[in-house]
């Protein structure tokens, strides 16, 4: 080794160490970054296909009312007409496909209503809200209101 390089040998080694680091990083990157990343955007392109093959878990209200005509008739003209069946009953695609194979979930009328109607200052003032402490001693809501077609002024 010539004299010029001799005094710089430690720097050459340090540079080599950095180079090894960079190469290691690039290898890791190549190994760890999933295939198809960034093809459409900042995500793995294959995620789209993965999601597509998963069966939908919601059937949609139009499916429910094909069979449940009683509930449909009550629900259609009522105050909950804008609320989808599965907002209360949960995702029921399996049930809609084969009702005998999968039982539907019946929400608890004592608690389900509060997910939407519990008083909260952050909700729009026009939205009907109640405080269970001073709304008819907290009895089951469906004792007075029908869950599918609630009246504003039910018979007591």
């Amino acid at each position: 080794m010539n004299r010029f390089l001799k005094d710089k040998e430690h720097l050459v080694r340090m540079a080599a160490l950095f180079a090894v680091g960079v190469v290691l990083f690039l290898i890791l990157k190549a190994v760890l970054v999933p295939k198809g990343f960034g093809v459409y955007g900042h995500y793995r392109a294959g995620a789209l296909a993965d999601n597509r093959v998963r069966a939908p878990r919601f059937a949609g209200r139009s499916a429910c009312i094909e069979c449940h005509t009683d509930e449909r008739d009550a629900w259609k003209g009522g105050k909950h007409a804008g609320v989808g069946c599965e907002a209360c009953h949960g995702a029921l695609a399996k049930h809609a496909e084969d009702p005998s194979a999968s039982n539907a979930f019946k929400p608890d009328p004592k608690t389900i209503c509060f997910t939407c109607h519990l008083t909260n200052a952050a909700k729009p003032r026009k939205f009907p809200q109640i405080d269970p402490k001073n709304h008819f001693d907290g009895g089951a809501c469906n004792g007075c209101h029908s869950p599918h077609a609630p009246d504003k002024e039910p018979k007591k």
Partner: protein, 392 residues
């Protein structure tokens, strides 16, 4: 929303504002990176501007910067639910994410600047230690020197030149490191407490202040522990720099404050209310009075009145501690203060600090002790003071 938190709320809060998401750990993050940047900038003064007086602290400042830099990302990691995923910001960085870009700035500063500069500066010592030590220590120093035993005059001259170059690159890098932390907060346009273009500069100068105070204290502490006599011209100079940096920092903060008061935009009433209530203690008392005005006055007093060495030392220790407390309070007021008010400007919440939880006070205390442990090891491996440091 947790029912139990509601009594902590006054007025109107959106549900997602009731509980603070950024805890005391996020306060530590700008605090520790600030110490790093400040300590490094002080070290650079000696190197680039040849301020001989602060030379005794040069190496200690670099090692302190390294110790705190290694700890700086840990509070962020603890804050994450999946810390291991944070590394993905290196693999698939998103250029629009301020935090992802910080990862690169951090890595650059750590490897490209600090480690290299320390390595070059210590190379001669490491070679000598590799020659004189035995056993595993010899192996350690061998590895650290990368197996090169050459400390010829020419090689050391090259090291010095390169080290100087790295320092020159390092100063803007240190500015970038901490200015960037300020930018992360200053660029949150939804938060009027943070969103101001002076935030990076305020962060930077407060970083310099805290870093200088840290090095001042560390130097006096290490001298005390090792029984070395303190180099008074050195600490006098550092204390003077501390005062200057503090004056600039304070002016900038006051500028921002006056600007806000005069502009009095729609957020002002809400922020003003906060400064008089929840933040009164931490902002007015701890940060501004005891954390800024008192230490500045103490340091200024020394410039005017001649005091004995012992009195000066006492004042430096006290002023340094107050300074660190004040800068910590400043970070606290930024991070926590920025989350106490509603974006509707109609309500306020409170921060309930937990103790022995993942983001509580206990991990915060441990994280603040950790850098001193690292520094202790670093000082053992790479002694910052020795009889004859080659007169380069």
């Amino acid at each position: 929303m947790e029912e139990g938190l509601l009594h902590a709320v006054q007025g109107f809060m959106y549900p997602n504002e009731v509980e603070l998401q950024w805890s005391i750990l996020i306060v530590l993050y700008p605090f520790t990176t600030g110490l790093v940047a400040g300590a490094f900038i002080l070290a650079s003064l000696e190197r680039v501007f040849n301020v001989q007086a602060v030379k005794p602290t040069y190496r200690l400042a670099l090692l302190s910067a390294l110790a705190f830099l290694l700890v700086a990302p840990l509070p962020l990691q603890l804050h994450l639910g999946h810390p291991e995923r944070s590394l993905e910001m290196y693999l698939t960085p998103h250029t629009s994410s301020a935090m992802a870009m910080f990862g690169f700035i951090y890595l650059w500063y750590l490897m490209g600047v600090l480690v290299l500069e320390i390595w070059l500066d210590y190379r001669k010592d490491m070679v000598l230690l590799a020659r004189s030590e035995t056993g595993w220590k010899k192996t350690l120093y061998r590895v650290l020197t990368l197996g090169v035993d050459n400390i010829s005059e020419e090689s050391l001259r090259i090291d010095d030149k390169l080290g100087r170059f790295i320092t020159i690159v390092g100063i803007p890098s240190a500015f970038l490191l901490h200015g960037y932390v300020g930018f992360i907060f200053g660029s949150v346009k939804a938060n009027p407490w943070w969103s101001t273009p002076v935030m990076p500069i305020v962060f930077l100068f407060s970083a310099i202040v805290s870093g200088i105070a840290l090095v001042l204290l560390m130097y006096m502490l290490v001298c005390f522990l090792k029984g070395i006599s303190i180099d008074m011209p050195c600490v006098d100079t550092i204390a003077r720099y501390l005062m200057y940096a503090f004056l600039i920092d304070f002016s900038l903060e006051m500028l921002d404050l006056i600007h806000r008061i005069y502009e009095a935009d729609e957020s002002f009433k809400s922020l003003d209310f906060m400064a008089h209530t929840q933040l009164y203690t931490s902002q007015i008392i701890v940060q501004i009075i005891f954390g800024t005005i008192v230490p500045i006055s103490m340091l200024a007093f020394i410039q005017v009145v001649k005091l004995s060495e012992a009195a000066r030392k006492g004042i430096y220790v006290l002023a340094g501690l107050l300074t660190l407390m004040g800068i910590f309070a400043m970070r606290w007021n930024v991070v926590i203060g920025g989350q106490l008010f509603s974006k509707s400007f109609l309500g306020y919440t409170t921060y309930k600090m937990a103790f022995a939880t993942k983001e509580g006070l206990l991990p915060a205390i441990l994280l603040m002790i950790l850098p001193f442990g690292i520094l202790w090891v670093l000082v053992k491996v790479l002694p910052p003071f020795e009889e004859e440091k080659a007169a380069v």
